[in-house]
């Protein structure tokens, strides 16, 4: 049953551009990007117990570096992407050293403060970042000479990256390192007594999450061909966190589902009303008060009860 559902889902995902219009293909690409981003945040929130409110930093900084290098300094896409990923990972390593001095709410506040500083920089350092106007004129790369200009081509490209990201993060979580991460989340002192180094485990996870945040940022900037300081804002971090929590933090598929829902909501709501931030706030209140464990675990619980009743 489960395998059939998975196979159908895979077939639909793979063949989507053959039966869907451009609007839906683009929407699907956005969902893929958002789900890589949410999955990377979930490494911290769900598996590491580190609730970060500054994850947009990695998406935004990677996007800004790639945008600046290709539009202003004439770098080719491959080099720009490598420098962008390298720079973002280095920044994650540095931010990790600062933020991991604290845990829990202190960690949350430090990540928020750091990301707000970057947001402020993106707005105010206008001779570099072009401030509120954002950076335009970004092109999409053409890996192996294949153009990604059409919505379908970009969708398949994003799909490949997403599947790769998903598999890589799954391996990360199911590895022995992933087990020690979960151990540090639940019982840091026991883990330390067993000879593990909780700080190092958290730091490596922080950097790894930053890496996938950077990948999401590159896709984001290639998709939009434009970058604006709002991609670094708290709203952007909060949307991803809402996706993780709505979908169910600490599950593998949950955040991807949650991110898709947040994105669909944003797209459909903005067609009717302008008040996305207010709606986002209300959804936050609703999710936290009504389904604090998230949609995917809630669904599993519901299905288990349903099966239990029918058998």
């Amino acid at each position: 049953m489960r395998w059939i559902a998975t196979a159908i889902f895979a077939a639909v995902a793979l063949l989507l551009p053959f039966f869907a219009g451009d609007f839906y293909i683009n929407l699907a690409s956005q969902i893929l990007i958002a789900s890589i981003f949410a999955l990377s945040l979930n490494l911290l929130v769900g598996f590491g117990g580190m609730t970060s409110l500054g994850h947009a930093s990695y998406l935004g900084v990677a996007a800004y570096i790639a945008a600046l290098l290709t539009t202003r300094y004439g770098f080719d896409h491959g080099t720009a992407a490598l420098i962008s990923i390298g720079g973002t990972v280095a920044m994650a390593a540095f931010f990790g050293v600062i933020a991991l001095r604290a845990t829990g709410l202190g960690f949350l506040m430090i990540t928020l403060a750091l990301s707000q500083v970057l947001w402020g920089l993106a707005y105010r350092m206008s001779n570099v970042t072009n401030g509120d106007n954002g950076i335009t004129g970004i092109t999409r790369p053409a890996p192996f000479g294949l153009s990604l200009e059409s919505p379908a081509a970009f969708y398949w490209f994003s799909l490949i990256v997403t599947v790769f990201a998903f598999v890589m993060m799954m391996i990360f979580i199911s590895s022995s390192f992933g087990s020690s991460l979960k151990g540090v989340r639940d019982q840091p002192r026991r883990m330390a007594a067993l000879g593990f180094n909780p700080w190092m485990i958290r730091w490596i996870t922080f950097i790894y999450a930053g890496f996938w945040g950077a990948i999401a940022g590159l896709l984001y900037v290639y998709y939009n061909k434009y970058i604006h300081p709002t991609s670094l804002s708290t709203t952007s971090s909060a949307e991803a966190l809402l996706g993780v929590i709505a979908g169910g933090s600490g599950t593998l598929a949950g955040p991807a589902v949650g991110a898709a829902l947040v994105l669909l909501l944003k797209n459909y709501a903005s067609a009717y009303i302008e008040r996305w931030n207010m709606l986002l706030g209300l959804v936050f209140l609703f999710i936290v008060l009504v389904m604090p464990t998230g949609i995917v675990p809630g669904w599993h619980k519901f299905m288990a009860r349903f099966r239990g009743r029918s058998s």
Partner: protein
């Protein structure tokens, strides 16, 4: 010389505002173990209320307006605490997330109600004339603002250190379980402190109006400043918030005038420095 003195005074007045904002944040955090991310939005709501009230009823003075806006924001904060936060007692992460959601709702509501253009708050007429002191000219309102912050600091110190309510709050900060066990109504204390913090932020918003004016995004500008103040000074410590506010006031003001592009990086250096060597903040207690 005049430049340094004027900027010094600007720093002091920003520091004063930051103290009004962050002292409430710090108290709430200390007592409730809650990072109240709505705090910047409470401040902005205060500024908007002040701007709109003083625009429409020019006869009112700013002190009455600040008091009124403080009470309105405190009432809103109290409602939010009673209706939402108490339901999430066992879910600290959920509490932070709903304060974030609330911040989005308030800031978007301000945008709906009062539009995207900034609304100036007039400086009180009797404080518009500059003051001459030791041969230098000072903007009077900023001097008065520093006075307000010092008065608020003294008032808070008196409240926390000398009254029965303050003793109960201190007991709750130190050991919530124990305080409950000896019969202190900790849950009601939460509401009181939350109202107090929200009210201080709202009143600070009005008083900061003549300097900052009300504009969308004010909350996102103020919240990180409050966070940095509290991280720097030590979470839950009033004295830490006091020192941190003036340190950040100085760094931010001189940073923006001397190196406008790098102000944000400069702001962030003392925070890194403190976190590296004293993660609990300058005046924070270990384990708090």
């Amino acid at each position: 010389m005049q430049f340094w003195i004027i900027q010094g005074l600007n720093s002091l007045s920003l520091g004063g505002l930051l103290f009004l904002l962050s002292s409430g944040f710090s108290l709430i955090f200390g007592l409730m173990r809650l990072a109240n991310l709505t705090h910047g939005a409470f401040f902005m709501l205060g500024t908007y209320l002040g701007a709109v009230i003083l625009r429409d009823y020019s006869g009112l003075n700013i002190w009455v307006t600040a008091l009124g806006a403080g009470i309105v924001v405190a009432a809103l904060g109290g409602l939010f605490e009673r209706l939402v936060l108490t339901r999430l007692k066992t879910n600290p992460l959920g509490q932070v997330l709903v304060t974030l959601g609330m911040a989005f709702i308030i800031s978007d509501a301000c945008l709906v109600l009062w539009g995207g253009d900034s609304i100036p708050v007039p400086t009180p007429r009797n404080l518009q004339a500059p003051t001459r002191l030791f041969g230098f000219i000072f903007p009077t309102y900023r001097l008065v603002l520093v006075g307000c912050a010092v008065a608020a600091a003294l008032g808070l110190y008196f409240l926390i250190d000398r009254t029965r309510l303050g003793a109960m709050i201190r007991a709750g900060v130190d050991d919530r379980q124990m305080a409950r066990a000896v019969g202190i109504p900790v849950s009601r204390l939460f509401t009181v402190v939350f109202c107090l913090g929200a009210g201080l932020a709202g009143a600070a918003g009005v008083l900061g109006g003549p300097i900052l004016s009300a504009y969308p995004g004010l909350d996102a500008d103020m919240l990180p400043l409050a966070l940095i103040v509290v991280i720097l000074g030590g979470i839950g410590s009033l004295f830490g918030a006091f020192v941190g506010s003036f340190v950040i006031g100085f760094i931010y003001t001189f940073g923006t005038t001397l190196f406008p592009e790098l102000a944000y990086i400069i702001l962030f250096l003392p925070m890194i420095f403190v976190i590296a060597f004293r993660p609990q903040g300058l005046f924070g207690r270990v384990g708090a």
